[in-house]
């Protein structure tokens, strides 16, 4: 059985999604329990997979037994095994945290909600694990369709935001498909490793260049790069808080992973960096993204809108750090994918707690939040500190790598943009903390009561805070054992 773990991480949530959809019509109380047990099982198998990769190196799994260029294969290597673990952790925490809010708001549709939740995780895991370009598209669509549905269940503006997301998402996915078509017409293959073997002969071909451009356009739309970010803030902040945690912390990160995957393992760094010569343009682009995202975040009045714009700046961090093209930058980018998933989850979990109690996330309502909800507010502060980059938390380490990479590559504009956005984040978070600690009026006549969110929403937040600090402390181990092997040797 031990050789089947690569497929089990995808299949367990998938099978359980079917069972949950079934159970939703027969015994709705079981749904949440089934979801959590499925996620625990797949987290267990992903951790075992992580240790297998640690011991033996890359694992190739042939689905339906055909060898790779003809059949579909799964490649678990140093890059994706660790991201899979993070995805599973985020999914588990969101599932535990969501059950109260779901019970309250979506009583009879629980089965469908949790089934789509599990299908979302299935799609993301499949995207991470797969070694076939078209299989990636199919799983991308599973993720997107379940994501549209999950986002559509929110307040009364959610359906409109979700429809906008659907248009942009479909354009993005179709551009990606067009890019694969260009690759297929010039190489005749769909397997990543096979294409990577053919591409060095075709370096002069215009078709390959346009394939690269279309794939990247599609992925930029999907990950919410700055000019194409129009769908992101509304979709994340109008949706139900149980789903926005999951969707916001994972979608953009996995799309960034796909970009890294395509450049490192399909188009090859040699072609992408030295042949096309667009890395300088991309770093400048990322700089613009970071600065614009920071300013837009500064102008928001609601917590979730602000967090959505922070996600846009983080996308700029990772994309810019990766396109710096040196080893330090790539290390920082990959480490920041892991850290950012955890940090975003921490912030969104605490905002979900606030919304569960306060029913609103406008900044006006955050008076005396430290007295009312001490645990959630503490989690929020630590998440914010991690976004800013305060040393014991993990955000500091990846930002350090990005800064030193920018300095090494001589991109001082990116360097200063990073510093600048950290300062803006300081202002953003201290504004809320100030609102929560020092509210001037109404202390006497309006006695604030202790009114914390339920325990099932506090525990995931606590675990996430611990994970933030642990990821900070063990970041050296993660880099030496996994990320260093993931980056090819030609990049120095």
């Amino acid at each position: 059985m031990s050789e089947h773990y690569p497929v089990l991480i995808v299949i367990i949530p998938f099978i359980f999604a079917l069972i949950v959809a079934f159970a939703g019509f027969i015994k709705p109380r079981l749904c949440c329990f089934l979801t959590i047990s499925a996620l625990i099982l797949s987290l267990y198998s992903s951790i075992i997979l992580l240790f297998q990769v640690f011991k033996t190196g890359c694992i190739e799994y042939r689905l339906s037994g055909w060898s790779p260029p003809w059949g579909i294969c799964y490649n678990i290597d140093y890059l994706n095994s660790i991201i899979i673990v993070v995805v599973m952790i985020v999914g588990l925490m969101c599932a535990i945290s969501s059950q109260k809010a779901v019970n309250r708001d979506l009583d009879q549709k629980k089965g469908a909600f949790y089934a789509l939740f599990l299908l979302f995780i299935t799609g993301l895991t499949g995207i991470l694990a797969t070694g076939d370009l078209f299989n990636l598209y199919v799983l991308l669509e599973i993720t997107s369709i379940s994501g549209y549905a999950l986002i559509g269940t929110g307040n009364n503006k959610a359906a409109f935001a979700s429809l906008k997301y659907l248009f942009m998402g479909t354009i993005g996915a179709s551009f990606y498909l067009l890019g694969i078509g260009y690759l297929y017409i010039s190489t005749g293959s769909l397997n990543m490793a096979d294409i990577a073997a053919i591409i060095p002969e075709l370096q002069q071909s215009k078709t390959i260049m346009f394939a690269f451009i279309f794939c990247m356009t599609g992925l930029f739309i999907k990950m919410g790069m700055f000019p194409m970010h129009g769908w992101l803030p509304n979709a994340y902040s109008d949706s139900h808080s149980a789903t926005s945690t999951l969707v916001a912390s994972l979608t953009t990160k996995v799309m960034l992973y796909v970009m890294i995957r395509l450049i490192l393992n399909v188009f090859l760094p040699d072609y992408s960096f030295s042949k096309l010569n667009i890395d300088n343009i991309m770093v400048w682009f990322a700089t613009v993204v970071i600065i614009c995202g920071s300013f837009l975040a500064l102008s928001q009045k609601n917590l979730k809108y602000m967090l959505s714009y922070i996600i846009i700046t983080e996308v700029g961090y990772i994309a810019g750090g990766f396109w710096l093209g040196n080893r330090l930058g790539m290390t920082g980018a990959i480490l920041h994918i892991l850290n950012d998933a955890l940090m975003t989850m921490c912030l969104f979990l605490s905002s979900a707690n606030f919304i569960y109690v306060l029913k609103n996330d406008s900044f006006k309502n955050f008076k005396d939040i430290f007295l009312k909800m001490p645990f959630s507010a503490a989690g929020f502060v630590i998440g914010g500190a991690s976004i800013i980059g305060v040393p014991p938390t993990c955000g500091f380490f990846s930002k350090w790598y990005l800064l030193s990479a920018a300095q090494e590559a001589g991109h001082y504009e990116f360097f200063s943009a990073l510093i600048f956005s950290s300062l803006i984040c300081c202002i953003l978070f201290f504004r809320i903390i100030e609102q929560g600690f020092f509210s001037e009026d109404d202390h006497e006549n309006n006695v604030t009561k202790f009114n914390e969110a339920p325990v099932s929403m506090i525990i995931p937040l606590g675990i996430t805070v611990l994970l933030l600090i642990a990821a900070g402390i063990y970041s050296g181990d993660i880099i030496t054992n996994f990320i260093d092997h993931a980056i090819p040797d030609i990049i120095t």
């Binding site: 079917l18 689905l63 339906s64 579909i72 299935t122 549905a149 559509g152």
Partner: protein
């Protein structure tokens, strides 16, 4: 907005047409796409799986993992539609409408709690405009069984002719949709209720995934049908052919169920009281 649209499409359109200049010519048998992978499929699909339709062989065997998730996509669409639209709250109506079938007169009856829904002469309807047309009903009643038989033929004959699980499932679902349009949503819900449609689709996807898991239990990779030869008492090649049929049946069930479910939800906007 119009000007922005026109500028965008002119720019990107010229870029895209420029990008086609490097393509191999249309229909060239020697282009890379036609010589690299596809040659293997055309030459080996018959000895490997004994399925004459190469598309079915690739769809359900070489790339069966894609097809499993393709079925899942449509299942997810059904779930999504249900989650977004389904409205369980029932509005209390103080009257109900009945139609006298021979004359077509509609009656509005208050306090109709103890009346039966359907008798030979009277039929319960949901709103005053629901049409009744004997010709359409009779003709569609005549056609629907044939469509269903054709759907089964398409599913079962997918090995030898164009067709397969997905097309057959859609046709099967379309037969029910025709029934629901020409009669009414109320009568089609009596034959396939919402719960039945959902369970049908769940079971369909489960058959596909279950076939894959069975392969895991017999010690080979996921969806490697060759190992099923032990329980089908045949050689691995025929086992693949049989397993493809099995999987196609699952896809057909799932797609038919989801199509019916989607139609119910969209046509009644989630209230299940009146159809198209």
């Amino acid at each position: 907005m119009k000007i922005i649209g026109i500028i965008t499409i002119l720019l990107s359109g010229s870029i895209m047409i420029y990008s086609t200049l490097d393509f191999p010519e249309w229909g060239d048998p020697l282009s890379p796409a036609n010589t690299h992978l596809s040659v293997y499929y055309i030459e080996n699909s018959m000895p490997d799986t004994s399925v004459p339709n190469i598309v079915t062989a690739i769809l359900a065997d070489y790339r069966s993992y894609d097809t499993m998730f393709e079925t899942t996509v449509i299942f997810a669409a059904g779930l999504a539609c249900f989650l977004l639209l389904r409205n369980f709250r029932k509005k209390k109506k103080e009257y109900s409408l009945y139609r006298h079938i021979p004359t077509g007169v509609t009656l509005k009856i208050k306090n109709s709690a103890d009346l039966a829904d359907d008798t030979k002469l009277f039929q319960r309807i949901d709103s005053t405009w629901v049409p009744f047309d004997l010709v359409t009903r009779t003709a569609s009643g005549l056609i629907v069984p044939f469509i269903q038989i054709f759907a089964l033929y398409v599913i079962a004959h997918g090995h030898h002719s164009p067709g397969g699980g997905f097309q057959g499932g859609v046709i099967f679902g379309a037969a029910f949709i025709l029934f629901a349009i020409s009669y009414s949503l109320r009568e089609s819900l009596k034959i396939i209720s919402e719960k039945t449609a959902v369970i049908l689709s769940c079971v369909g996807v489960m058959i596909y995934a279950g076939t894959g898991l069975l392969c895991l239990l017999f010690g080979s990779n996921f969806l490697n049908y060759g190992s099923l030869a032990q329980i089908l008492f045949t050689d691995p090649v025929s086992a693949r052919s049989l397993a493809i049929l099995f999987v196609e049946i699952g896809v057909g069930l799932a797609v038919a169920g989801v199509m019916i479910w989607l139609y119910y939800n969209i046509s009644s906007s989630g209230k299940y009281n009146q159809g198209l």
